[in-house]
Symmetry: C2
Subunit: 123 residues, 2 copies
DNA sequence: ATATCTGTTATATTATTCATATAACAAATG
DNA sequence: CATTTGTTATATGAATAATATAACAGATAT
């Protein structure tokens, strides 16, 4: 799986890393049971510090995307708390849709965007 | 318009403020042409520093939600760049939907969330 | 067994961001 | 003329982000 970090981005490196791994899971590039590279290995590949990768993995664990197996490393394993996920999504969507609403983006256009993105996930 | 700041939140105060003003515009609590409180006034009302409000207003101006009129202050005036707004929304939605996708939230459930939120805007 | 590789923890340093405080300016208002 | 507007400048303290070394226990491989 290819990781691309934008060092000019205002977004923290560990969050960029987290987001790309989540996108990798959603698009099935990484699947349940797969093992992520070791923190040292991935850090070297990307050219960042070990602790930055470690922080991304810690966030992913805390959010229920991976478990840490001392023998294997970070393993994709989804812990689903759907109610919590829905509540979080609602809050984040509210702000994004509010912004879109002010910019004349219609409900239908949002639906189309959602469909397009979901289609990307299923390829 | 009621502003509520969560000082325990990890989200920056100026961003909480920005988000709530955008939500206010989307729900038509604030309308085009309305004038926001002065930076000093709002800062005092909320109990935060003047510069924090100023930063929120500067972001809102930069994002095309208000214009600054030296006579009136910060006036709601929407500068719509729909293509840009759509591109931004797509990027932000991708991560949020990816996370939801991993948590077994279906396309249909996202659509329902979107509809619910849009309904909130039209009240 | 010995060396290597895992996640994890600890400590320290640097840079950046966030929020604060004080001060001042030009333009507009009353 | 005093007050209020947005705006700018500068400074400080706190928190965060990313880095660098170092060490530990457990697992793996030679």
């Amino acid at each position: 799986m290819l990781i691309e970090i934008d060092f000019q981005s205002g977004e923290a490196i560990y969050m960029q890393l987290r987001n790309q791994i989540i996108l990798g899971i959603a698009t099935a590039v990484i699947q349940e049971g797969d093992v992520l590279p070791s923190v040292r290995q991935l850090a070297e590949d990307i050219g960042i510090n070990m602790h930055t990768v470690n922080k991304a993995y810690a966030v992913l664990r805390q959010e229920g995307f991976v478990t840490i197996d001392r023998r294997k490393g970070a393993v994709i394993s989804l812990d689903v708390d759907k109610a919590k996920a829905l509540a979080e999504m609602r809050e984040q969507l509210s702000v994004i849709l509010a912004k879109g609403c002010c910019k004349n983006i219609s409900r239908a256009e949002v639906h189309k965007l959602v469909d397009d993105i979901f289609k990307d996930f299923q390829e």
